[in-house]
């Protein structure tokens, strides 16, 4: 569908409007893992203990949706998907910074951890690193 796959090892053709090639493949793979784990975590929290901390659990679900959108949009070619990617990655960056800061200064507001709590410490700070790498990659593969 994307036409970017080359079967011979080595160089892939420079296509402007895709982000699913080269380092982008690693980025998408990591996003996919986070989409999966955030969805599972949110689903588990909402199913078992939603009433204990509704805000934190809604936030968990929101984070999961952001990761899913980022994964899919990064894998798709075209200008529209680029904009969707940019919006998702920016949302993710703001989310991890705001939630990280709030969870640091007001732990009572977030009795239950989300992916973004403490800047993603529970996940080796990858949630903090991921949007930064995402923005760098989007900038590099910006549609002309």
């Amino acid at each position: 569908m994307t036409g970017t796959e080359t079967n011979s090892a080595g160089q892939q053709p420079k296509q402007k409007d895709t982000r699913n090639t080269g380092p982008g493949r690693l980025l998408i793979a990591v996003y996919a893992v986070f989409a999966l784990s955030a969805t599972a975590r949110a689903g588990y929290q909402i199913a078992t203990k939603f009433a204990e901390a509704p805000l934190a659990h809604i936030l968990s679900a929101f984070a999961a949706v952001v990761y899913i959108v980022a994964t899919i949009s990064l894998a798709k070619p075209g200008r529209t998907w680029f904009k969707v990617s940019l919006a998702a990655v920016l949302t993710e960056l703001v989310g991890v910074l705001v939630v990280g800061a709030i969870s640091l200064f007001d732990p009572v507001a977030f009795p239950h951890d989300t992916v973004w709590s403490l800047f993603g410490r529970g996940y080796g700070f990858v949630p903090l690193l991921l949007p930064i790498l995402g923005l760098l990659w989007l900038n590099k593969r910006r549609p002309s």
């Binding site: 970017t4 796959e5 080359t6 079967n7 090892a9 080595g10 892939q12 090639t21 080269g22 380092p23 982008g24 493949r25 690693l26 998408i28 793979a29 990591v30 996919a32 893992v33 999966l36 784990s37 599972a40 588990y44 078992t48």
Partner: protein, 117 residues
């Protein structure tokens, strides 16, 4: 921590290191790196069968059973998905995708051990 944990630790780390080195050497995924990831899948399949047998023999999972099975089934999907994603485009970057499998599955294995005991 049981034998499955240590098996995932060793096989996962060896696979990750192999794939990382291959990626750093600017190599595309080849038989050794792909088989190293498939070895993780084999360990997970043994884990699956072993866990089914243990539960069938009456052993109790200390934590939430469906959380344990959720982790295990997800872990089973990851190596296959990564190999598929890596061989669609065989560049050095795909080896870094494969390298992520070992670490991810090892962390999930640690969590699965916590849930079980």
């Amino acid at each position: 921590m049981d034998g499955y944990f240590y098996a995932l630790l060793i096989v996962g780390l060896v696979s990750t290191i192999m794939c990382l080195v291959a990626g750093l050497m600017k190599k595309a995924p080849n038989d050794p790196t792909i088989y190293s990831v498939l070895a993780i899948e084999v360990v997970l399949l043994v884990y699956l069968v072993g866990s089914i047998v243990r539960v069938a023999l009456g052993e109790q999972i200390a934590g939430e059973p469906w959380e344990f099975w959720g982790y295990l089934i997800t872990a089973l999907i990851i190596p296959l998905g990564a190999v598929y994603w890596a061989i669609l485009e065989r560049t050095r970057w795909s080896n870094f995708v494969l390298a992520a499998v070992g670490v991810t599955v090892f962390v999930m294995g640690a969590r699965m051990n916590q849930i079980w005991y």
